[in-house]
Symmetry: D2
Subunit: 377 residues, 4 copies
């Protein structure tokens, strides 16, 4: 099996998410890393790319150069990952899709709902895959939960409770720390702070696992650290198209929570929960039975859960390999070997619509508002 | 030290909470059990009281008989516990207070805000203690959390997250089960289901630990099981008088949760959390430090936490001894030895006001409403 | 039901185990506290007893006075608890048994195997109950494990792993601390330190749950803190009469363990484990199935597990109520209502024999030795 | 940075450990996979290697062919991983070392102590690196523990408790299952079952973290499943050169344990423990302080712990990336950039000596025997 060819934009030296993409794309030997425009500083980006083994002529200074350079080549990259800051995602993703590349775009896919709708249209027209890196959805046990819901094992879903809380922005003087401050400044971060940054992961998981979409929501936003404009603690109540009740809490001031992304699904016939800090287990409770523990790697798991696990039961697999699973599904999709369960441009758009709806609701004292993108109403 | 004399109304054979009160009052040898009207069925109540060692003339058929019998005696009971169904609490508590007895009333103290205000007035006029059995507040480690907040160890409190969820009413056919059905029927349960039954424990804890009161709230109620009128899943966002953000989720359909009463307190300088299923530990995180585990019984705990623990570190103490701690504080109060940190009629009233506010808000699509009792505005 | 009459020797003011016995005997209203010789200091003991409500003429100065005083009375106590230091247990227990009292003796029952055999003979001759306070065996979920093994749910038991480790004697200067030093001094503590003090609880549980007895053992003792003569860290390998393999580790220098008494039972058809710091759950694994959690208070538990639980599922019950369960079984036994599953003088003797065998083996480089009391070989 | 060239022997399609080596060597882009003799079946091995992108002339039929083919090439592989069944390790490893290749050999390195000594000599003479895949030692938090001990943070180490227990061979009919049976058959597995297969991982960790070596030991072996000759449950007591007490339990019949490799280190000044199923945390207790949780990725960790973690705090990293860390250290070593903390041929030899000592001791009723390889005495 020949490797697919891969390139990345952003994810330069010292970046947070860059290493996860490099590791994720390489882990299973599915992609070879051939091209990149890795840094906002052209020289640094070129140098770093070459230090990673990229040929000099494909170690680009910026994404436009890369687009120009790659589109003409016979051996052009199959897939481009966009791992730059949020406000550049739209333009880059759109351009590469239009030029006929498959794209994996980091979250949030766009800065506005309109841009999101545009990406959905462009992706459709291009016939290329546009995936969004909601990587938590590619943990084997998250796929297992999705499969269990789809198979009706929990019956109709009554309530979903999703959290993404941490305490890493709890210091009062974070208000002066430039690495933190920009996230709560509308001029730089847009309309939302923690909801757009982390809350959407939890919201996506709620939809992904239940196979359902948020219809409407009511939000309560708070800026608990003095000096912040955007929310650092948010609660969103929602209802899905199928009538499931949703509760989503997200916070950056929750001291003692490190990476509190967790989700519980309560249905007519069973309940289950999963936490990202212990991703290899599901706590499962069938109505009338004892609580039991489902282990990654045990016999009888769903097709996806099996396919996305590389080592035996109780040998933990973590975050980087969840990102790798996104690449596993991308490779299959690009090769036409399967649809997989990739988060798509539609999902990226839906998240944006939900963030804007939450901002709107919060500004109206929690009034219930439609959370769907206009093009899907 | 002579024992105080104690009597109970309700808590008959087979009742849920009766054993906890008997055990709680007896555990430390502070009260002798002298009188009771234990059952709605007079004959059963008399027989059962005598089987528990109560003298025949103090094994009463109903509470009015008991009130008449006790008030005239020289050796009358010092304290009366009211452990009957909710809709009788008001009348019984009021009558015993007016007759000069100290009262420990089960939660919820009353069925309406007006009744609650009346109990507060009567208790004040009587000069007697009226405590409400928010027994979770008497766990040693809950007292420890209260003391830590009071000492400023967490700084100003930004957010409180309190839950009381379980899955014991998740069966779809609960709608037909009389032992469950009444709880969701307005004719029998009043204006609220799970919020009034369990949510108020979590809400009380939020106030108790922070030493603060709920000012206003916004609620989202859902009846997720077909056939229910009152809510079985509720989310309440609130703000306290000091500006703390509150999040409270309570549910009866959360399969896999057995007794999910837990609370997290996030302040400027630290965060901590506690769960009723593991009541002997606090998970504590000081800003900039590692997460640490505070153990019941360790050296250096607050005065209350020490006083309310009977056995050495890591020897677990559970629910019945939390109830016993309410009696410990009651004995001290009755003897005039200390104010303690007893939940009072004021707390009972505040809970009622919050429940009614939540019902009101939920009926108005989550509009924010004043949660304070009129007499405290 | 009239209460039984109860007296205690030792357990004076400030003692460690005294409060657990008072609470345990009172919690369920089964015993009235009528007499005591509570302290090594006669005056203190008399005063303290009276402060607890004991009549002046039954607040004795020492156990001989109490024996003399009680044996003649019509309303003499039914049960005497011996909660004095170890080296007095034999004499006091023997004397009260011979005088026709039921006795609950603290562990270790005696200082030597010979004394243990003598108590067994005396108890038998007297026709009275002699129980030993292996209170962990009275946790509802430990009874549940015993019932499951007895019912064959785990098949033949292959291996038992029992630990009792803590870190409370880990300080190097404990060697100079009189409250700790005596425990490692043969002149005061006898032949064994941690094994005799804590290890025997774990060993008793292994026998209790499996319904089997230790036949032979091999031990490795270490005195890890400088200046100690007796062991503070011990490992015992054993085999039971039925051929089960046993592993028992006990330590006082295990920093980070608070009360590490836990036990795992591995059989042909299933495995289960329980830890004293979370006594309300059993982690259970049936061959070929998922791990499940058995909860105290759930439907369908064994008769003992149900009888010994006072409050609903997931309302934790802890150490003092395990001690109370010993009194529950004692009351039943004394009233002739059931044999119960009380730890007996035979169990106390077996523990002594095992401790002496371990000491012997350790002194012979781990040679395997017979662990049975001579009278049971 | 040019990639190093890598080849593998064994680890063919469907093998257990093969995927971990491929992923581990590729994850960080340090090695390119250039050659292999992957299967005992030559044709299968060639085909599978080519399907993984290996050139046809380097997709070898067996290891001798590979040795012949590679040694002559200019672009020969830098590193060979030996992932074949145990009884082939010695010959293959020796041959490749002698031919001047660096080797990563799977555990156990050899079948006998003599072979182990030979490998140590050959590796020394060759000047090449011979590492053994004790991959658990490359978890970031295991490196952190090693660094803490080395820095004296725990003081002198008193006791080490290491376990490797699971329940995956607990089925009684495993005795007939060929995939399991051979492990307990001396003709196929050699002198030891579970001790040689899993126990040595735990034993290596004990040495690795403490920076100390086992001097002598006493063992108790049991074959608990009918029909087995070799042990499926073993306990080893040991003493290190520095006098630390060691306890090691390993079992394959512990139903409910999935991958119970865990270790606790108790020193004069502190204790800590780590479990392979939750590899991103250390539970740490400093004498006199509260228990605290050390998180992978937190600020201030040891150089190794930082270097070997790829993603932020509380983003879990698991087993495959621990294997990758072995390759990280190998790449550094081969490039001469650092000694790293690689498990070496000496460690492989020491493990063999300890296994043989344990077998010897167990056959002599637990007599204490020297556990050191003769060449290190
Ligand atoms: N899926 C997840 O779990 C997850 C986690 C973290 C970050 N992210 C997302 O990844 C994206 C990057 O976040 P990060 O935390 O790695 O940011 P970062 O600031 O750490 O790194 C950004 C990188 O992009 C480079 N860059 C900036 N502008 C560029 C441009 N125009 N062209 C080329 N390179 C450019 C920078 O030089 C830097 O190397 C964000 O959209 C973020 O939301 C996702
Ligand atoms: N604090 C807590 O954690 C907690 C827990 C459970 C119940 N409760 C409260 O305790 C109260 C009782 O609840 P329960 O679950 O024990 O109910 P239950 O139905 O199990 O028992 C009620 C008992 O009261 C007796 N009774 C009814 N009417 C009476 C009357 N007029 N006079 C005398 N006796 C009467 C009944 O015969 C019965 O014995 C309720 O208010 C409930 O909300 C509190
Ligand atoms: N079952 C358990 O879990 C458990 C736990 C702790 C202690 N114990 C056992 O309980 C016994 C007491 O231990 P402790 O820790 O409470 O000891 P302690 O030293 O704290 O208290 C001993 C008490 O006995 C009194 N006493 C001493 N000699 C006496 C005598 N001759 N007559 C009357 N009173 C006398 C002392 O004054 C003191 O009040 C010991 O045998 C110990 O092994 C058992
Ligand atoms: N470090 C660890 O945590 C760990 C875990 C599992 C296995 N192992 C070790 O890895 C080794 C392999 O174990 P496994 O479980 O993967 O075995 P396996 O039986 O699953 O696979 C062995 C592979 O080696 C191939 N093979 C056999 N003989 C060969 C030969 N002569 N030449 C080339 N290929 C050959 C087989 O075809 C097969 O692909 C063993 O030594 C085992 O102890 C280590």
């Amino acid at each position: 099996m020949t490797k697919l060819k891969w390139g990345m934009i952003g994810g330069g030296e010292g970046s947070q998410i860059g290493p996860a993409h490099r590791l994720g794309s390489q882990a299973d030997g599915l992609f070879s890393f051939e091209a990149g425009a890795l840094d906002v500083d052209a020289a640094k980006g070129r140098a770093y790319a070459q230090s990673l083994g990229i040929a000099a002529d494909r170690a680009y200074g910026d994404w436009k150069e890369m687009l120009a350079g790659e589109r003409g080549r016979d051996d052009k990259v199959d897939l481009v990952t966009v791992a730059t800051p949020n406000n550049t995602h739209f333009e880059i993703t759109k351009s590469f899709l239009e030029a006929g590349f498959h794209v994996l775009c980091e979250k949030p896919m766009t800065m506005t709902v309109e841009e999101g709708e545009e990406i959905v249209r462009v992706a459709k027209a291009s016939g290329k895959t546009c995936a969004v890196n909601y990587c938590y959805s590619a943990y084997p046990m998250v796929r297992q939960m999705k499969a269990m819901v789809a198979a009706g094992e929990l019956g109709a879903i009554r309530t979903v409770v999703a959290n993404f809380s941490h305490g890493h922005h709890a210091a009062g003087d974070d208000a002066d720390n430039p690495r933190v401050r920009w996230r709560y400044d509308p001029a730089q971060a847009g309309v939302s702070g923690q909801m757009a940054d982390c809350g959407i992961h939890a919201l996506h998981m709620a939809s992904f696992i239940t196979g359902d979409e948020v219809e409407k929501l009511s939000a309560d936003f708070a800026s608990t650290v003095k000096g912040r404009v955007l929310e650092d603690d948010a609660m969103v109540n929602f209802r899905t198209m199928k009538g499931t009740v949703g509760r989503l809490w997200t916070s950056t001031i929750a001291l003692g929570r490190q990476h509190g992304l967790d989700i519980a699904i309560y249905g007519e016939k069973g309940g289950m929960r999963w936490a990202s800090e212990q991703p290899n287990q599901i706590i499962y409770n069938r109505l009338g039975a004892r609580t039991e523990i489902i282990e990654k790697g045990e016999a009888g798991l769903s097709e996806d859960a099996q396919r996305m696990s590389r080592v035996a039961i109780a040998h933990p697999e973590g975050f980087p390999l969840a990102v790798a699973n996104i690449y596993v599904d991308l490779a299959a999709k690009i090769r036409g070997e399967g649809k997989g369960n990739l988060p798509t441009a539609e999902d990226g758009l839906r998240s944006m619509a939900a963030v804007f709806a939450a901002v709107d609701s919060a500004s109206k004292d929690g009034a219930w508002v439609d959370a769907r993108p206009p093009m899907f109403r």
